[in-house]
């Protein structure tokens, strides 16, 4: 989202004076002394594993080498070494550790070039799809160990894959970065997450620092270090800090808002002078779609719906144009907006039978609306949505909007006064802002105010690897954010109730949305 400094100062190239009888400084101090001089006198450390290898390497390389370093809070740490003429690059690995999906980006640390990128489902999904189930599973030590092994083994498998495809050795990965929510970060580090979900909601660490990657079980270079993004608390994790870094929210002159939409809605508001954040439960409807036919974004997931003409013909689009298997979060928002715009649901989100016509069927005691006919779907069964599904979506969108109202009000603004609105996360990239506004989930801003960030967690993680000064920003962002505890009091509940209409009980808040009349 913003341009950065071009030289990667994580890498230094050195030609050391070889030892002699008149200069018998030890190997370690010879290297560290030269680095310290280069780095302006700051302390520089070399881990024991690198110290052990150093005597042989210095002599093999004739005292000319490339060093990868990372700046910790109080000192520099050497994390990798290579001979001056070694053709293989020193590599970095950025990790977006999602609850559902994990994305890795392998890059050349010396040029910033991405070598390979891929993703896989978080293997902890076998224990439970959501954070809460996993934390309960970690209540006994074996459970914690199991969850930890699942994610670490999964990462190692993917690391091996990426390295093979890029034709580099795993021990060329000398610097890593990882952004995830607080619970995922704890499970990755093997830290007891039990107190995250119990009042007063205390993580084990806020600033995990830059530990040795091998101590966390990763199969990378022995001296490699991993920058783990800090969190603000149990409900505001490193993934969001990475998102702020990537968006540049912390450097803007004008006030902007960043929202990560998922089971939790996490929101940051601010500019170069101040940052305020809050997070609240939005329910599962926005992340994995609605019950029964809800799915994550995968081939066959319906991600766009259009309803045309007086006959209300459905035009659906699926990911990879595969036969429909379900509907993902962005598809549900689209669907609800189109149902509302075409008069098939009313301002309370209830089916309007006269407008729905034959699409509305009775299954047991339920009224359900057919989205895709049986002969078009992957399973051969019709995909339908029920009233309960719509109710769930409306609660989620109302929670989202109420949180936005609450945080803007805290600084004396309204959501409608925002001029820049970043939508983080892969999911955010697929939301049609027009649809989100139509159902009153996002404020009625000009469409060009909305900026999808894509996988901002991964992009933030890549940024600290390729633009060293941005690591200082991570700490500053962490320390500058005022975290506002969402006080779910009567005022909040009143706002929430008002937001449970389409688009809102107060249509003046959504002037661009046409409220359909009765059929």
């Amino acid at each position: 989202m913003e341009s950065g400094d071009s030289r990667n100062t994580w890498i230094e190239t050195l030609g050391l004076a070889p030892p002699s009888l008149s200069d018998n400084t030890a190997d370690q101090e010879r290297l560290l002394g030269a680095l310290q001089k280069r780095l302006g006198g700051a302390a520089v450390h070399l881990d024991l594993t690198l110290v052990k290898a150093l005597p042989m390497l210095l002599r093999r390389w004739d005292y000319a080498l490339r060093c990868a370093l990372v700046r910790d809070s109080d000192a520099w740490r050497v994390c990798g070494l290579a001979g001056i003429a070694d053709p293989q690059p020193l590599c970095g690995l950025a990790i977006d550790l999602g609850t559902t999906r994990i994305v890795l980006s392998l890059l050349n640390l010396e040029t910033g070039q991405v070598l390979q990128e891929d993703s896989f489902d978080n293997p902890q999904g076998v224990i439970g799809p959501d954070v809460l189930t996993r934390i309960h599973y970690a209540d006994d030590e074996d459970g914690l160990h199991h969850l930890n092994r699942l994610v670490v083994d999964g990462l190692n498998g993917m690391i091996a894959d990426l390295c093979q495809r890029a034709e580099i050795e795993r021990d060329r990965i000398v610097l890593l970065s990882l952004a995830g929510n607080t619970a995922m970060t704890h499970l990755f580090m093997g830290l007891d997450p039990r107190w995250i979900i119990r009042e007063p909601y205390i993580p084990v660490v806020n600033r995990p620092g830059i530990p040795l990657a091998v101590r966390l079980g990763l199969d990378v270079a022995a001296g490699a270090r991993i920058i783990i993004f800090p969190n603000i608390g149990s409900y505001f994790g490193g993934d969001l800090i990475a998102g702020i870094l990537y968006s540049g929210l912390d450097r803007r002159e004008g006030t902007a808002l960043l929202v990560d939409v998922g089971t939790n809605a996490e929101v940051v508001l601010g500019d170069q002078n101040w940052l305020i954040a809050c997070a609240g439960a939005a329910g599962p409807a926005l992340e994995s779609g609605v019950s029964r036919i809800g799915t994550t974004a995968r081939p066959g997931a319906i991600d766009q719906v259009r309803i045309h003409g007086v006959k209300r013909c459905f035009e659906i689009r699926t990911i990879d144009n595969a036969p429909p298997v379900g509907i993902c979060g962005s598809g549900v928002i689209d669907l609800a907006a189109q149902l509302f715009a075409s008069g098939m649901i009313d301002i309370q989100g209830r089916f309007v039978p006269s407008a729905c016509g034959a699409r509305l069927i009775t299954t047991g005691e339920d009224l359900r609306l057919v989205i895709a006919e049986a002969d078009t779907t992957a399973s051969g069964e019709a995909l339908t949505i029920g009233q309960a599904d719509l109710d769930s979506l409306i609660r989620s969108k109302a929670a989202m909007y109420t949180i936005l109202e609450t945080i803007t009000e805290a600084v004396g603004m309204t959501p409608g006064q925002l001029s820049t609105f970043f939508v983080a996360g892969t999911f955010g990239a697929f939301i049609d802002p027009r649809s989100a506004i139509t159902i009153g989930m996002l404020p009625d801003l000009p469409l060009d105010s909305y900026h999808p960030l894509g996988n901002s967690s991964l992009e933030g993680a890549k940024k600290v690897l390729t633009q060293p000064p941005s690591l200082n920003r991570v700490d500053r962002i962490r320390d500058r954010i005022t975290y506002m505890e969402l006080n779910v009091n009567q005022a909040f509940m009143n706002r929430f109730s008002a937001a449970k209409f389409l688009p809102h009980t107060n249509p003046e808040l959504f002037p661009s949305v046409r409220i359909p009349g009765p059929v």
Copy 2:
């Protein structure tokens, strides 16, 4: 040797404010924040192993605890935790890692009280008694690994013993210190010592720092750190730095000299303003005695000899009054001094048959002097000394004196101008200065100038555990010492030749020594 600050600032007692909804700082940051405040704002780190245990411990201890910390070059590191009411002490362990003998002192870190102390032979002795043999053995990686395992296993065995005797758990040992020569320190850390003995004599590290003890294989608390004394170079190790610390040489107003007598003679000269050091080979005669009957100081070793009256009766004293098994270093010096004073050897150290009488026997082609008759010894064979043994001793004492002359001359002094002379090492504690002066090994100073330090390496190691400010002195000593490479040139060889007489070719240097006339 000098008094220190009484409070052990390695230990801090804290009562933390428990977390609440209005203060949801993470466990780690809650602890580190309080410590940082206590320590005046310096950075404080907590190792991952302690972080993992922290959530459970803080809640079990109700947020009241004792912390052991150690100050690294740029930050404090928490190395151990205990509940406020926990009756077991947080412990320290000081290690003197000698080439021949290893001494451990287990102490209560909170009071400084020594709980247990014991020693054992360096298990690397099975590979070879001297440093050189071991370094050659480490030339292949398996050899290095083997030597490393020998010493680490030996230490762990003794740690288990000491803990059992003191009735404490091994994981109460949270802070360790280790002083050894450069080669022993390298082998303990698993660092390749190959370049120590090859020109230009380069150690792998000068400042090993304060690593996690478990990473070096020690069975102590998971977060325990070990202060490893730094070296000046391949031939001036941490044991000497520890000795300087213990003697207080670096704080004295008047110039003093410290010498560690062994196979190598290591010498430091200086005061509070300057320190100069050198080291040189003195040969094995001073350490394990002379060939054939030489032995280390153990029960039955002859450590004192007196020759009485005109009949030249021998009165020998052995360690523990056991039947004689051999003669140790201090015994040899005593013996030579007595032989010279009684006229049984001349100023070149050659036997004077007329004075030796029946004690001088012929074995093969050798003339040998009987020290202990066959019917008095442990083996039932007479203990005898040959001309070659005496020649070896004289070369050693001459080397020692020449080194002392060289270093004092470098600062415009003579050995006779020294007013304070520290003799380090267990061996130093047994030398009779009168005898050492008689043979011209030590300068002819008033006897009260000589101060045996005992095991100054161990005492220095204990000092950093019980008197935290002394750790800063360690670094300052390391950085202040000017190491003088002993240039074995013609001037040195001339001095050496002059010193090969008893006490010296120039008797004016030894006015207190009576030169016996011809028999």
